[in-house]
């Protein structure tokens, strides 16, 4: 994007208009714990994003007007739910550039999606001598399911290292990517470092050795456009609640022929074709992966969230968030002793994980909380990454398109005010 088009995108971004769609951001503290009349500063969207009014309204619309179980009844409510669910599924498919909505299964979220893949694919195709390649910056959700299935199948889990500037070390990729590699599972964007990974390049090189490519898109999909076909992605996992949609719903994408070959993850209603006393046969994808009752209301409202985000436009979102991130780096970077863990701005999304020399992350988060600034602290489900960074925990401020420069001022000022005391 050129300088001028960035400026144009930002100048047309009316953050107040965007914020007006998020009731939770506009509710001042009443009294008691927080200073009366101040607004909360929500800087934890990487954990879970706030929902726009249209999503909240959609959930209410379903519950109040036509709620019923899905794929079960011919009656009016059931039929309407089926239509709404399929419309939402098509929106997910469209969002990620899938060839067909049959390639998208609803899940409980990214964690379930990755477990579905590890078990449904790995449980069938992994064997002794095979390797799965992940990276040192993965979330536990993209580590533990692979550890479990590799241990079970006698396969080996390998870790692509990160560089000193906190990016994937692609120079070492050839060493780690061999004919033994059967699956490469990498995050689209680190939930701590913010690093945006070159997925299409990794996918291309994975395919060269005959491996499949899975992307943990939980963090990346709310911030940037993705195309599974163009980027050569075989499998992709995402969560609704990080995409400004409801919690409890997510999606799993797989190329059709790969889904056909996989084992189902869970058995139960809806995922079967025939059930006999001796055995069962399974539905075609995606039903094969949707045993039991779906999170119906949430899955429908996920489609509304996708409509909302795409109506804002990923180019404009990216342009605005880049400006916020630059501003946050300048502000936080001016605090003595503060280290932001991650690559330079051009290689990352809107996340700043930081530590302050001599100060406890828990203290920082609690202090910020007392000022109404909500950030996360801890290891952020990335213990191996924190070991590499040689820190026990960190504070993470993550930004979304509804955050403002004034909110970043409140973050920076609150830390500035107290940093001497916390040491």
């Amino acid at each position: 994007m050129t300088e001028s088009s960035t400026a144009t995108a930002h100048s047309t971004w009316d953050v107040d208009e965007v914020r007006a769609n998020f009731p939770i951001l506009l509710r001042p503290f009443e009294s008691g714990k927080y200073r009366k009349g101040t607004l909360p500063v929500f800087l934890d969207s990487a954990a879970s994003a706030q929902k726009p009014r249209c999503v909240i309204d959609k959930e209410r619309e379903v519950e109040e007007n036509y709620y019923a179980n899905a794929y079960r009844g011919v009656y009016e409510f059931g039929a309407r739910v089926d239509e709404e669910l399929e419309a939402s599924r098509a929106k997910v498919a469209n969002l990620i550039g899938a060839a067909s909505s049959e390639e998208v299964a609803f899940t409980a979220g990214t964690t379930m999606s990755i477990n579905l893949l590890a078990r449904g694919w790995g449980g069938k195709f992994l064997g002794p001598g095979d390797e799965v390649l992940i990276s040192e910056m993965e979330h536990h959700a993209n580590i533990v399911p692979w550890q479990m299935i590799c241990a079970e199948r006698g396969a080996t889990l390998r870790w692509l290292p990160i560089t000193e500037d906190r990016r994937l070390d692609l120079n070492q990729l050839d060493e780690f990517l061999t004919r033994r590699t059967k699956m490469v599972s990498i995050t689209g964007m680190s939930n701590v470092l913010g690093t945006i990974n070159p997925i299409s390049e990794i996918a291309r090189r994975a395919h060269e050795v005959g491996a499949l490519m899975h992307v943990d898109a939980a963090q990346s999909v709310p911030h940037q456009a993705v195309s599974v076909i163009n980027d050569g992605i075989d499998f992709l996992s995402l969560s609704g609640h990080k995409l400004f949609g409801p919690s409890g719903v997510g999606a799993f994408y797989g190329r059709r022929e790969l889904l056909d070959d996989m084992n189902p993850f869970m058995g139960g209603g809806h995922m079967i074709s025939q059930v006999y006393k001796s055995h069962s046969t399974y539905s075609d994808p995606p039903a094969k992966f949707e045993a039991g009752t779906l999170p119906i209301v949430q899955a429908i409202a996920l489609g509304t969230a996708i409509d909302y985000v795409t109506s804002l436009g990923f180019d404009r979102i990216h342009a605005y968030e880049s400006q916020l991130l630059t501003y946050a780096h300048e502000g936080l970077g001016s605090i003595p002793g503060l280290t932001i863990h991650g690559p330079s701005i051009e290689h990352k999304g809107a996340i700043c994980a930081f530590t302050i020399e001599g100060a406890s992350s828990y203290d920082l988060a609690e202090w910020l909380n007392s000022k109404g600034v909500f950030v996360r602290h801890g290891h952020h489900c990335t213990m191996p990454l924190h070991q590499i960074l040689k820190i026990e925990n960190s504070v993470r401020a993550s930004f979304a398109f509804y955050n403002t420069r004034e909110e970043i001022d409140r973050l920076v000022n609150a830390i500035d005010f107290t940093v001497a005391k916390l040491r």
């Binding site: 008691g32 714990k33 200073r35 406890s360 828990y362 203290d363 609690e366 007392s370 005391k421």
Partner: protein, 143 residues
């Protein structure tokens, strides 16, 4: 003697009442934490580490002939250290029986800590209380 240890529990309650919002209380807890002397490195042992806290907390006890128990504790996080000071104010210097009879939840509620602290923090605080009560119970058993 430092400010943190020279005041009484009633002083602390009065101070907290005047402070109002959580921001002021947090700041005060940091001051309390600042005033609490650091314990010697040998006391920061695995045995003395209090479990359940997100930050490191260490606690040891000294027993006097008159039956009173002096608690010595520290944390590497400042606000947590302030909470450590609150626990010491509530318990330290008391007999084992008095420690076991103390209604600590009522004190935490009176200070607004139960309302303001997150569940993870309250669990940490419970860990400290459990440690103090264990110290008191073993003192009673040894008698």
């Amino acid at each position: 003697m430092t400010l943190a240890l020279s005041m009484t529990l009633d002083d602390l309650i009065e101070e907290f009442d005047e402070l109002g919002d959580w921001e002021s209380k947090c700041e005060y807890l940091m001051d309390l934490g600042d005033d609490l002397p650091e314990i010697t490195p040998e006391l920061k042992s695995e045995d003395n580490r209090v479990h359940g806290c997100q930050s490191n907390v260490w606690m040891a006890a000294e027993f006097s002939d008159d039956g009173s128990i002096d608690l010595i504790a520290d944390s590497d996080a400042k606000i947590v250290k302030g909470l450590v000071a609150v626990v010491l104010l509530a318990y330290s210097g008391h007999t084992a029986q008095k420690i076991l009879d103390t209604n600590i939840e009522a004190i935490f509620t009176r200070l607004g800590l139960n309302r303001h602290l997150s569940m993870a923090r309250r669990n940490g605080l419970s860990g400290m209380v459990k440690r103090v009560r264990n110290i008191a119970m073993s003192a009673l058993a040894d008698r």
